[in-house]
Amino acid sequence: MAKLWLVAKQEYRRIAGKKSFLISTLAVPLLFIVLMVVIVLITIFGEDARPVGYVDHAGILRPEAREALGQDPASTVEIRPYRDEDAARAALEAGEIQGYYVIPADYLSTPAAECVILDKALSDRARSDFWDFMHANLVQQLPEAEARRLYEGAHLSLRTPDGKRQLSDTDFVSALFPIVGAFLFFFSVMSVGGYMLQAVTDEKENRTIEVLMTTLSPEQLMGGKALGLLGVVLTQLGLWGVTVVIGLLVAPLFIANFPQITIPWNMVGVGFLYFLPSLALISGLMIAIGAAVTETRQGQQIAGILNLFFTFPMFFIMVILGNPNHPLSVALSLFPTTAFLTVLLRWGFTAIPTWQMIVGWVLLVGTAIVSVRFAARVFRVGMLQYGQSLTFKNILTALRQSRQEG
């Protein structure tokens, strides 16, 4: 066990100490922070916060209509009434307002209004707030409960039969969360796979393996490397995660009506359940590739093809998200290399039947065990063949021999 940790520590230091790792790790949060700062600056300085005016020839608008429906006008762009178009025009030319609407006398029969501006369009917020103001006024003749109902509009919520999961159209960020989570989980698994391939080919290229094998078992060596590399990826994800959390805490201070985010803990749990066997599966395959080839580039070419089996759901993401119970989505949830990503992608949009989860997970775990055993056997033979690739025949012979020995 102590040796496992020594290898893990060494591998972690080796990768995390590289400049390229520091740059790639810090670049994402830095980019995110810069993006946030730009958005905040645009919000503060870029948007026209001046009032928007109106001239009501129809006589239907009351300035206090929104207060009556529970809206706080202080949080919106100021909406100023003008007696006539001349007064509104004068205010516009004086720069007091960014534009004004003219509500014609027959507005209720032909609902069209004119917007007058100088050279710059109304800000999105001013336009949105004015039409919100219009809606509040148009429903004001109705009894308060109906007026409020119409003013707020329809909210669609989807709920699973057991009531444990719910999705609402106002909670779009929560719907996005499983997708983002799926990509983060998936990214970490694929990164460990990539690092593992590099680590194994490095050992082979550096010819260090013969000395290590007199000290460590292949399981200690590869297990330690996998742990160290997992630590590397978690460090990276942790840093990025902290940045996102800070972003989510800061964003509501600058963005009005920023949605509240609910973390789908059950999805996080399922993610972890699939995470370790997926990690073992890809690590095993990468170790076998690394042990069988002579140089990193050759390994990367083969790994590139293999990665397609893991990234396959990405090509069908529209099918999976649009129709999460489609036979293809179900098939991909059961297939070991695609199960992890597909299950996470489907999670936000359907209630995956329990049998699919169990069958998919069992198949994944079984394949992962076979993959690790296969890797250990190829590793024993391939790592000592310096400068020579293993042929398919060699690999089969190795497997046969190790079965006899084992």
Binding site: R207, T208, T215, L384
Partner: protein
């Protein structure tokens, strides 16, 4: 005295190829044991079986009185023929890492490493990346990695490869020093003069079989008469019954084939008009002669 290593009737095949066939030998504390043989004879496979990298098809390996254990792994220092270190890492942390894998704590490893680095003149390079070191320096670093954890069994495969004469002498001194400290040392090399200078006993493996095994002096006595030394004018190559003719300090040294006596060679020389013989004497065969006689001529002791 109990042997440090006992190899008993070990065999190992790779598919149809029998790499090692029924090889047996023992190595004792305080001796330098030569593991010899031509390329592809099965030496490296024998070492790998000994170190549990390969499992033998038959036979038994005993290290320190037992099979391979975690404790035994910590008592072994191995310098393989195919050697290397992490090229993109710095020298000092790499050697400390390898020593800690062998059970040494980091502080002790660091302390011992300083002395070794100074002895090998690498101290000023300890913070350099290994790829920045010369081939000779990398070789010396590898020797340090083999010895840093103070192993009781040292296995060195071509320890002098890539070293200049000064460092060759230093490594020889260190190997001799380790022997005096009671360590069992197995040395595999093609440099026969180094074997003669250092080894007390050898095993010679050819085509996977141990064809010679015993004390160097005894083996040389067994092969007495299988070499002649002569001087004269003319070309002494291509004589019948002579496996190899080489010039040494102006004299000719001839290794004789199995069953060929020095008298027969002398008779053949007397019949040659293009040769003027000035001196002819039966030489004590060098290990190199014996190696050539056995490997080329297929002889075993007692057959000559």
């Amino acid at each position: 005295m109990n042997p440090t290593v006992t190899i008993s009737h070990v065999s190992k095949s790779f598919g149809p190829v029998k790499a090692v066939k029924d090889v047996s030998f023992e190595v004792y504390p305080g001796e330098i044991f030569g593991l010899l043989g031509p390329n592809g004879a099965g030496k490296t496979t024998t070492i790998r079986v000994m170190l549990d990298i390969f499992r033998p098809d038959g036979g038994e390996v005993t290290l320190f009185g037992n099979g391979m254990t975690e404790a035994a792994k910590h008592r072994i220092g191995y310098l393989p023929e195919e050697r290397g270190l992490y090229k993109d890492l710095k020298l000092e942390p790499t050697l400390i890492y390898l020593a800690t894998l062998k059970g040494l704590d980091e502080a002790t490893a660091r302390q011992r490493l300083g002395d070794w680095l100074k002895r090998f003149d690498l101290y000023d390079h300890r913070q350099k990346k290994i790829q920045e070191l010369s081939k000779g320096m990398q070789q010396k670093a590898q020797i340090i990695a083999t010895l840093l954890h103070d192993p009781d069994l040292i296995i060195v495969d071509e320890p002098f490869a890539g070293l200049d004469p000064v460092n060759t002498r230093l490594v020889k001194e260190i190997i001799e020093e380790q022997r005096r400290a009671g360590k069992a040392i197995i040395m595999s090399t093609h440099q026969m003069h180094q074997v003669e200078a250092l080894c007390s006993r050898i095993v010679l493996i050819n085509n996977g079989e141990a064809v010679l095994y015993g004390e160097v002096d005894q083996i040389r006595r067994q092969f007495a008469g299988n070499a002649v030394m002569l001087s004269g004018q003319g070309n002494f190559t291509g004589l019948p019954g002579v496996l190899e003719a080489r010039q040494q300090n102006g004299d000719w040294h001839l290794a004789l084939a199995v069953g060929v006596s020095p008298q027969e060679v002398l008779r053949a020389l007397a019949l040659r008009d293009d040769i003027k013989l000035e001196r002819f004497e039966i030489a004590e065969p060098s290990l190199e002669d014996i190696f050539i006689t056995v490997v080329r001529g297929g002889a075993a002791p007692g057959e000559e």
